[in-house]
Symmetry: C2
Subunit: 255 residues, 2 copies
């Protein structure tokens, strides 16, 4: 199955982000800037207010609607408990599996990424995506689970940049970081308690900066594999910065 | 009246920020981190739920309560239409009139400030204050009117850093900027349409960077007096950054 056609189809499907839930899908449909590949509905849905609106807008926008039984839909949404019988595939031009970041790329010594370890606030997630996309660094690495899901809220907070941002998803962040480390990247954890400044980290390898959870920082298992922990030096007794501000400072730093 | 005692008293009163309105004042009282100098109440207030709570907490915290007639209170709040008969003086250790930024200081060529021209979102205002305080640049210049008032919302978004941040207030921003320009500072307006990058602005004078309103940018009358307009260079088709992110980038990375 490695013929060119399959590869092309795989690359296309890899760029789809499936969102779910009645409100998030309705909001995505209402935003004409959102590129939607397909709408998925459970055939058990009652034809009430919001479902009727969803269908109507999808028809107006000429978006393919597929009907599924409840079980098949939950396989598509990957969250049967919260999908409310509705899912949609968004097309994101920069959304790819992190496995495309190869050893050759990392060992060039020129790449820079920001990895997100359980960023839970959708507002922060959106602002990080917007700032990192603007900075022009190589991209954001984010695990599929454990952080804010990429819903309409995040898309809004990203000012629509989610559709173009270089986003590399993985299943298990710790494993993927260990792989990238083996492939030549320096793994840098961010912590306000660190000794060294992020502004004084002269290395010739590629770098991956890890931003941890808003409350408890970088996970223990990920901190253990970090080559170095770094801080943003702060004045006036300020103890921490908003995580999206930290992301922007790191991303723009390497200009 | 220029005896030392008067000067000292004046310096103390210059550091007071008066907030008003029942909800903002109640929230400030409930936050033990807030240093409150005095509570002002109109004697016409009915002793109902929220007023009773305000009095109770002020007594528990040993905060001086002063009663005024309606007219006197509106002179204190400077906003009789919205004060709801309640005002409080917060003590901010870094809050001073911008006139203390002298010609000597500006002509040293080493100072850097960020001036806020009608930033209206309290969340943005708080994040700007937090980031600029952390950066260690010389301070924020903000007019008393025309932007988000420094309410409990801003204090929360600043993560409490408002109490220590170097904040220089003025009555008329355009006038004060013209004065600082005459005193040797370069006035730089931020605009996404500018030709030159904020990261490539090699000057030997002190600088004041102006961040404009979230929607329509720097005011026309202020843009006219700018020595230069600068942008944050952006990639991936991103058209703008959050204003608090812009503030952080200038404060930490400029020069």
């Amino acid at each position: 199955m490695s013929n060119p056609e399959y590869q092309q189809r795989k690359a296309f499907f890899d760029q789809l982000l499936t969102i779910y839930g009645r409100k998030p899908v309705l909001e995505a449909l209402q935003d004409s800037a959102m590129q939607i590949y397909k709408l998925h509905l459970a055939d058990s849905n009652k034809d009430d207010g919001i479902i009727r609106d969803i269908k109507k807008i999808a028809q107006q926008r000429n978006i393919n609607i597929e009907f599924h039984d409840r079980k098949a839909l939950s396989r598509i949404s990957k969250n049967g408990k919260q999908d409310q019988g509705v899912a949609a595939d968004l097309q994101l031009s920069g959304y790819q599996p992190s496995t495309v970041i190869s050893k050759d790329m990392l060992s060039s010594g020129k790449q820079r990424y920001i990895a997100l370890d359980r960023i839970t606030n959708p507002q922060n997630m959106g602002m990080i995506i917007r700032s990192v996309a603007a900075s022009g660094i190589d991209g954001i690495i984010l695990p599929r689970r454990g952080g804010a899901p990429l819903t309409a809220l995040v898309i809004k907070a990203s000012a629509g940049t989610l559709f173009r941002a270089p986003l590399f998803y993985c299943e298990n962040l710790a494993k993927e970081l260990a792989r990238m480390q083996a492939d030549g990247a320096q793994i840098c954890g961010l912590s306000s308690h660190a000794k060294h400044s992020v502004f004084e980290n002269p290395v010739s390898t590629s770098q991956i900066y890890i931003l941890g959870n808003e409350t408890d920082g970088v996970s223990n298992d990920i901190e253990r594999l970090c080559d170095t922990m770094l801080k943003i030096p702060m004045h006036n007794g300020v103890e921490s910065l908003n995580v999206a501000v930290t992301a922007a400072l790191i991303a723009f730093l390497g200009r």
